[in-house]
């Protein structure tokens, strides 16, 4: 009987955490529409999330495009279907691989960064100092960061997708002697509005999830330097898990309606 207690506690803690995250999310929406708006800090966070992650997203997207094309080409060649390569790569990149890989990279880079930054601010009483000066730290620190990730992740995904297609084109050009215009003509013929729209919408949710989990873990970080490490680490783990759940729900809904 005693052995079941830790399991029950873990389950209980899990549901408590879900409840707290939901409350945190509600508070975000409540504070989002209340004045004063922190535009300057929002812009700073957008710059941090967007510009500072751009290089990593571009390189990763480019390599994924290269690898996907190199790995897939032999199979398509066996069926004499190399001409389908631009269509196949573009649809798989834009619908699924681009958004999820970019979001996972950002969960690792941005989510952990937010978790560690806010966690360290909590531990060194900087958040308390904001509160006692009569300023709302939730609005200044949390709302701006969640909004920045929600707005910037979709843009990063677009750049990642574009670089993936460029990488794929380079391999096609080297191995199949396909021109730039021919390749991208095939790409744009293959992609439909129904591929782009759901994929773009879900990236907003990805961004929101990364910002939400990072801020939640950092804002309620336990005292001590260990707490900061745990906040950064669990921000990545929880955000990555949440990304796959959102992705599954998005694909499921898209499948029903489109």
């Amino acid at each position: 009987m005693k052995q079941s207690f830790p399991t029950i506690t873990k389950i209980k803690n899990f549901f408590i955490e879900i409840g707290e995250l939901t409350y945190f999310s509600n508070r975000f929406f409540k504070e989002l529409f209340s004045t004063p708006f922190e535009f300057k800090e929002l812009l700073r966070q957008c710059y941090y999330v967007g510009n500072k992650s751009l290089g990593l997203v571009l390189i990763t997207g480019f390599i994924i495009g290269l690898v996907l094309t190199i790995q897939t080409r032999p199979t398509l060649e066996q069926f004499g279907a190399e001409a389908w390569m631009p269509s196949m790569v573009s649809i798989s990149l834009i619908r699924e691989i681009g958004p999820i890989i970019t979001a996972l990279i950002c969960a690792g880079r941005i989510g952990s960064g937010i978790g560690a930054e806010l966690g360290s601010m909590r531990v060194t009483e900087q958040i308390d100092a904001m509160e006692v000066s009569g300023t709302n730290p939730f609005k200044y620190l949390v709302v701006t960061r969640i909004l920045a990730t929600t707005l910037m992740i979709p843009i990063l995904v677009i750049f990642g997708d574009a670089m993936g297609l460029l990488g794929s084109f380079i391999i096609e050009n080297l191995k199949g002697d396909v021109s730039f215009f021919l390749y991208f003509d095939k790409v744009f013929h293959a992609i439909e509005f129904s591929d782009v729209l759901p994929a773009t919408i879900k990236t907003f949710f990805f961004g929101y999830a990364i910002g939400l989990v990072g801020c939640y873990k950092g804002y309620y970080c336990n005292k001590g330097t260990v707490g900061v490490g745990v906040a950064a680490n669990s921000a990545v783990v929880y955000a990555s898990m949440l990304l796959f759940i959102i992705d599954f729900i998005a694909v499921f809904i898209t499948d029903i309606f489109i």
Partner: protein
């Protein structure tokens, strides 16, 4: 000696706070008078920091009454409480400077929301420079907190505390972690602030030298209760073993 007018600006009555099974504050009472420097001493874990955090709403007490300038804290809404907070400066033990901001930005931060407290012709730049001049650190205005020494950080934190011109200042271990010379400079700075701005202060400290220089009155906190109250001289002369232990 500072002339203390007998009018309480802050009153705590029967304050209780429990963390799990640990009763940290157990019916604590305090009155802070206008222009007074009140030193609260006690062992680590005796509830001193918890008590001053209750005063600014960082910790919610289980029961008891806290009145600041005649206003009962529990009756205030968030906006009223935020406005009242600007009347209370809080110096954190570790300075708590915002490490992603320069010294200037650290001081500007509280002003962003509360600049309307000042006359319309007063600008942020003037207030920041004035506050830094008061603590002798105008030259460090564009430095980052990581470029400052421990003593400089504490001075900047005092400047940030002063910038909204509070009527009450709460100091949480103002000299902890500082060398004796820097500690003396910080203590002198606190005395100067009191004389210039006529503030009332609660100082949480273990530093007997600090208490000797600055205290108009002292409270010894033991097991979450007021154990003894009096001037530095009274407590220093006490024959009570628990009191004597602090002055050895």
């Amino acid at each position: 000696m500072i002339d203390v007018k007998k009018k309480p600006i802050l009153e705590i009555k029967n304050l209780n706070k429990k963390f799990g099974d640990n009763q940290v504050l157990n019916g604590f009472n305090l009155e802070l008078f206008e222009g007074e420097n009140l030193v609260v001493m006690g062992k680590s874990g005796s509830g001193k920091s918890v008590m001053i955090k209750c005063l600014v709403g960082l910790i919610e007490p289980d029961s008891g009454s806290i009145k600041v300038m005649g206003k009962e804290l529990t009756n205030l809404n968030q906006s009223q409480f935020d406005n009242l907070r600007t009347e209370i400066g809080f110096l954190f033990q570790g300075s708590a400077l915002y490490d992603s901001m320069t010294v200037r930005e650290n001081l500007e931060f509280p002003l962003r929301r509360h600049i309307n407290r000042f006359k319309s012709h007063t600008n942020t730049k003037t207030l920041v420079e004035e506050a830094l001049t008061n603590v002798g650190l105008l030259h460090a205005i564009d430095l980052m907190p990581s470029e400052l020494s421990g003593g400089m950080k504490r001075r900047v934190a005092i400047a940030r505390t002063l910038i909204l011109k509070p009527k009450i200042i709460l100091y949480d271990e103002p000299t902890s972690g500082l060398d004796p010379i820097t500690s003396k400079e910080i203590i002198q700075l606190m005395v100067n602030i009191q004389e210039q701005h006529k503030t009332s202060s609660i100082i949480i400290t273990h530093d007997v030298d600090c208490a000797r220089v600055i205290a108009n009155r002292m409270i010894l906190l033991i097991n979450g209760k007021n154990y003894i109250e009096g001037s530095y001289t009274d407590l220093n002369k006490s024959s009570d073993e628990k009191v004597k232990a602090f002055f050895k």
